[in-house]
């Protein structure tokens, strides 16, 4: 026997080695995970290399949200690695979160050895069965020779078309087995999945002609613009400049168009601005760019923008005509379609005169003057809106990324923190996952070590993934948790006031932890503020700290989030802050609306 015959050919390796090599070949630098019995061979490989950094979280849910935050702030695919059974089931929440918000995520799960599958083995669960409805696609890999191809395909599916989460379930014996590594294919092997990015030029032409004829146009943009990449945001800005159309955005799309832009109407929807919602209701041409007519956006569907003709640009055919009927659907990637749109608009023989939309703008200015985000200032207690206004003022111009949890603080953050660039705002829009913001912030900080990353949190939400403080300390991730602490699950309480006769069932936090001590117990910095006069100085202090900070900002306990479109109402039936008296709040929603979520 010669020496050569003892050496394995380069493409022969163990399943665990294949996993690491495939990740590297797909450009992965960081993975978020938690070890366990069924992924030990992969962890052993991680130990023996240093190209990929593994971030050890304290709960698998944290790994998933961190990977989501990482993905959303970079445009890259987020990667998480968890063990079988409870590891996989704990990953379900972030998977569904990523599915609803169209975030590219590759989740690798360990599985019991193939010979034990179906035997109710220790830490066994039907991972592909459980994650089938909460992923874009998933695989159980039973043959080590297929592993590399599956991982390459997983990355392709996660990031192309409408992005989303995928799961690759790898039994332990497959991780140990030796097989052939196949390189990333030039062209996709799977013929059944070939998303289309170019829009139909005739449809785009029809849309541009409709836009040119509009007297009351509006651009309604969403997360699709962000997902399409920075180029799409540039094109969107160009289109707004060319057309001088007013523009609003969903929660997911904030930052695609700068909040300082003249045509910006603010966010629309349930807690959106009066001018955005009124303009949506009264427009004659609506151009929906990468948004999906979610129920938080439309309000009562049969009263949604009743007199407009609608254009809908979306990469997912199932989004077209799902909730709202549209006149001109354009299937394709937002960036590609906007490029054509800008080109065709420039080529219009008769571009509409400014006068065509003059009345419309006058009307919009009247709505704007209503100042729907106004609130009563107090010199004794910190109003939550004031806290965020100050946070924004003191962090603007810095390299700032904002994440949020879910609830009132999230809506106030969307109203009072303004974004100039895409990929700066990470929030759980579709699923509404409390506990999202802090781990997501960790993911953002891993990708942008020098940036200022702030998780705007509520006192209830933050306790859902607070264990990740330990992760923040371990990896020196100086994330700032800014808690608007009102001692309530504020949004739950607000709905109980609106819908359930002010019976505040289980929405008061009786046993609030001392957040300052909690931060210190983990090795971070705790701060406390309950005086509006001290707020600025404390926020400055927080920004200056180069460690994880929990900032317990005590705010007015009973403040509610307005304006609001109550359930079952239309855009032009908003409840404005100055009209939201106790009586109006109690009667805002009728019996039928009460059944809704």
């Amino acid at each position: 026997m010669t020496d050569d015959s003892n050496k394995m050919p380069d493409n022969q390796m163990t399943g665990a080695e294949i996993v690491l090599k495939a990740l590297k070949d797909n450009g992965v630098e960081h993975i978020f995970g938690y070890p366990g019995g069924a992924v030990l061979p992969i962890y052993d490989e991680i130990f023996q290399q240093d190209e990929i950094q593994h971030i050890l979280v304290r709960h698998e849910q944290g790994a998933g949200h961190a990977a989501e935050g990482y993905a959303r702030s970079t445009g890259k695919v987020g990667v998480m690695l968890v063990t079988s059974g409870p590891g996989a089931t704990n990953a379900v929440t972030p998977l569904q979160d990523a599915l609803m918000d169209s975030i590219p995520l590759v989740c690798l799960t360990g599985q019991v050895p193939t010979t034990l599958i179906g035997s109710d083995a220790f830490q066994e669960c039907d991972t592909v069965g459980i994650t089938r409805p909460c992923t874009k696609h998933n695989w159980l890999v039973k043959d080590v020779n297929e592993l590399a191809a599956v991982i390459h395909e997983a990355f392709r599916i996660a990031q192309t078309g409408r992005p989303g989460p995928v799961v690759v379930d790898i039994p332990k014996d497959v991780q140990f087995a030796t097989g052939t590594y196949t390189p990333k294919p030039e062209t996709a092997a799977n013929v059944s999945y070939q998303p289309k990015t170019q829009g139909d030029i005739n449809a785009i032409r029809a849309a541009v002609e409709l836009m040119a004829s509009a007297r009351r146009p509006i651009l309604y943009t969403g997360g699709g613009v962000i997902n399409s990449g920075p180029e799409a945001s540039k094109l969107l800005r160009e289109l707004v400049k060319l057309t001088d159309f007013p523009i609003t955005s969903t929660l997911m799309g904030l930052g695609a168009y700068p909040a300082s832009g003249e045509n910006w109407l603010g966010m629309l929807g349930m807690h959106g601005s009066y001018e955005a919602n009124m303009a949506m209701h009264d427009c004659d041409v609506m151009i929906c760019v990468g948004a999906r007519f979610d129920d938080r956006i439309t309000g009562r569907v049969n009263a949604f923008s009743p007199n407009s003709r609608k254009v809908h640009i979306d990469i997912d055919p199932s989004s077209i005509n799902k909730n709202v009927h549209v006149d001109i659907p354009i299937l394709g990637d937002v960036g590609a379609v906007l490029e054509d749109m800008v080109r065709l608009w420039r080529a219009l023989p008769n571009r509409p005169a400014k006068a065509q939309t003059e009345d419309w703008w006058t009307q919009i200015h009247r709505w704007r003057a209503r100042k729907s985000f106004s609130y009563k200032h107090s010199s004794d207690v910190i109003m939550p809106q004031y806290a965020l206004e100050r946070l924004y003022e003191l962090t603007r111009g810095r390299n700032t990324y904002i994440t949020t949890e879910v609830g009132q603080h999230q809506m106030w953050a969307a109203q009072f923190i303004h974004f100039e660039e895409p990929n700066r705002w990470m929030t759980s829009g579709g699923l509404g996952t409390m506990g999202y913001g802090f781990p997501a912030a960790l993911g953002v900080q891993v990708a942008h070590p020098d940036a200022l990353v702030i998780d705007v949190a509520g006192d209830a939400s933050i306790q859902m993934c607070i264990q990740e403080m330990s992760t923040a300390i371990q990896y020196n991730l100086p994330v700032k948790i800014f808690i608007l602490n009102n001692q309530y699950m504020g949004m739950v309480r607000q709905w109980q006031q609106l819908l359930h006769g002010n019976r505040l069932s289980n929405s008061y936090t009786e046993a609030m932890p001392d957040f300052v001590k909690l931060a210190e117990a983990y090795g971070g910095v705790g701060m406390y503020c309950d005086d509006p006069k001290e707020l600025d100085q404390k926020i400055e202090e927080m920004i200056a700290v180069k460690k994880p900070v929990i900032f317990d900002c005590r705010v007015a306990n009973l403040a509610n989030c307005f304006p609001m479109i109550p359930s079952g109402k239309a855009h032009n039936e908003m409840l404005l802050p100055d009209e939201a008296t106790d009586e109006a709040v109690a009667n805002a929603i009728d019996a039928k609306g009460r059944q809704l979520v």
């Binding site: 069965g129 089938r132 129920d295 569907v301 979520v597």
Partner: protein
């Protein structure tokens, strides 16, 4: 139950569905791989769509392709949504609404056929009557003893419904139906 008619399932769908529900037959070409049927039927249950009939079998062994035929019920909007959602499933190659295709081709319906096996027990005059009726329906005897018959019948679902109803008093004890296999008329392929 149809999710789009029930306001409780989703936040704002309180507009009553005014369009009329229709039965459509969908043909779905999929990769023959583990879990693909679960993906398809999971979509139907998860989104509150109906399945009235479901048939699945490998149709091209070398290409690893299976064909799933589903009869479902919904308003035109819901049916369009079902098709779009099915097309989103990664191993799904094509979805054709055979009912819509038939209309486009100026035909009333696609060809829809079902096979049923029907077991009857009995003696004497009942057996003769069974065979007479089987003959009238072009049903074949595929198994028999002196006390039983198994009949095989092929045809439209309505014909099989009728056959089963007629056979009930003649000692019918067991029925097995395949569900619908369907195809459009004419020279064009799927």
């Amino acid at each position: 139950m149809n999710a789009h008619q029930q306001p409780t399932g989703s936040a704002y769908f309180i507009a009553p569905e005014t369009a009329k529900a229709e039965s459509h037959t969908l043909s779905i070409l999929v990769n023959n791989e583990p879990g693909v049927l679960a993906r398809v039927i999971g979509l139907f249950s998860g989104r509150g769509y109906n399945i009235e009939s479901l048939t699945v079998s490998e149709t091209e062994h070398e290409a690893h392709l299976s064909r799933i035929t589903i009869v479902t019920r919904g308003t035109p909007t819901v049916l369009e949504q079902i098709k779009a959602q099915l097309e989103r499933i990664v191993p799904v190659h094509r979805v054709v609404d055979l009912t819509v295709r038939a209309r486009d081709l100026g035909q009333e319906r696609p060809i829809e056929r079902e096979v049923a096996l029907v077991k009857l027990v009995g003696q004497g005059e009942r057996r003769a009557e069974t065979l007479r009726l089987a003959d009238a329906f072009h049903a074949k005897v595929v198994d028999a003893t002196v006390e039983h018959f198994i009949l095989e019948i092929t045809g439209k679902s309505s014909k099989i419904d009728q056959f089963v109803a007629i056979m009930k008093p003649l000692g019918l004890i067991e029925v097995c139906r395949t569900g619908i296999a369907a195809m459009n008329r004419g020279p064009q392929g799927m």
